[in-house]
Amino acid sequence: MTIPTSVPITYTSGEQIEVYRFNIPVTVGVPLLALFLQAFVPRRLPFFSIFDLPLLVTIFFAMARRNPISGLFTGAAIGLVQDMLGAYPIGIYGIAKTLVGYGASSLGAKLDVENAGARFLVTLGFYLLHQAVYFTVARGMVNLTLNWSWSRGILAGVVNAFLGVVLYFVLDKFKQRT
């Protein structure tokens, strides 16, 4: 069996999974745009603060690239910039998004996450993981008195998962096959 050299393919459980890459403007611009919207829009539309656009972008890039190293560095970079804009010490979002980036890319390398249902579930799961890590670090290391609410966490997870499904289909346009 001969593998075409132009399209590298990874094999997982006998299934062909494509690896994508993005050009530099998209790689830099989309996370920055997500961070910008996250900082700007909630002042005008307060309900928007329930979304976590940087997280959705992290998950998307990690799943599309299917490379754990790339995924964790993407998550770390986006999370750290998000920390820099906030009032708390730098690293809380960084740690949470590093883990999400690593996990999403590892999962993307093993599962087909191209369809909407899978994307919804993956996003919901990683949102909850992100929140759990964030709360753990914030309470354990920074001594912030955060209260966890299951109802709010799951609601926010579902809302983010819906937005994620829509956003991923938009961002799919920027994918380039390696």
Binding site: A39, P46, I69, A87
Partner: protein
Amino acid sequence: MESVLGRYRNLTILVGVLFLQVLGLAVQVKRSAEAEHTRLIRIWAVDAITPFERVLVWGQNRTGNLWHNYFFLRGVRAENRQLKEQIEQMRLEQVRLSEDAAQARRLQSLLAFKEQTIAKTVPAQVIGSSGSDLSQSIYIDKGSNDGIAQDMAVITVGGIVGKVLRVYPTTSLVLMINDQSSGVGALLEKSRLQGVLRGSPNGELILDRVMSDEQVSPGDILLSSGGDQIFPKGLPVGTVTKVNPGKELFLSVKVKPAADLSRLEEVLVVTEKREQEPVAESGGVRVRAADILAQRLPSVPAKPATVAGAPPAADENTAPGQTSSAVAKAPSNGAAKPPTGNAIKPEGTASAGPAGNAANQSLAHDVPVSGQPVTSQVLKKAVHKPVSQDSDTDVAAGSAAASNPDGSSVKPAKAPPKPSSAQSLPQTPASDDDPH
């Protein structure tokens, strides 16, 4: 060893990256107890994001102004009329309050109180937020280049907003009062009960450290106590919405912020506060509490002058304030004619309404007499602003009543006024704080 690292390369890198971040976090947490400076890396991140926010806010404002100022003018006339009526009402209220304020200043100066006042503010526009719903903070478009510094108070007309947490050259990060890491010294307006106002994780405001046996009820208004050394005392903070028994011996008091923290557009940064003793408007002469009280008491009308132009001795029964009032009235036109009843009206009637105020206004420029209490001038200054057309009429009437047809001058009189009409009777003061 190499084979293990090679086999678990991804995991090793993950652990390494996480370790570095945890290390960095630990260093920051340790340093945050000391004086924290804004790190360069934060400045870069903020500089990358905020220019876009500025441009968008600028464009939004321009578009909004164009629409509201030139196209959407529906109901403006009615609103204008309503606002004018409101201004009239507020002027009347201002007259009353200014007198109370003047009295409070006098009493404070007697006790050598020191008060903190806002000396200078810088207006700023809200351009963004921190981007996290777990952190209640906003970015404003003014920074160190505009004189903003860390820990300055940020307020609106409605109430307090927060304090400056980090300062960048052209922007600043403001930690709002509903952030869980913020705390504001507050007191209840009526009961003067003090507590600490804290933010909760979900962005609500909780008044902390209030004992469970204290009387706090929904609707109570909270003011800043000044104890935090950031917010000057007396600024509106919020209103109590719910009171529940809290942990241990304390109440859990929920507060609705006075400023709409979720829809802030413009704020004021208090760049300069001044701590000073309140200055009573008494021309530098100390006023005794007895004088103030004496002015408030209605008394028997003074006897009329028997001979015009011949100043008799002062009536012994006349209270100091009344004497000064009567004296002050005479020289305004140099008339020998005894003043009308307005002259012996108790000073407490300064707040009786436009007519009374205006009558006193006509006396406001009189020269104080040596040895006399100058409180009358103080009260007159407090009500010096014109009130309405009616008051103008009364001013004219008062002046006319105090004038003399022949225009001859008269000494500052110790002449008691003539109780010529019903006006000469002491009027009931309308002031709320008057003992009568």
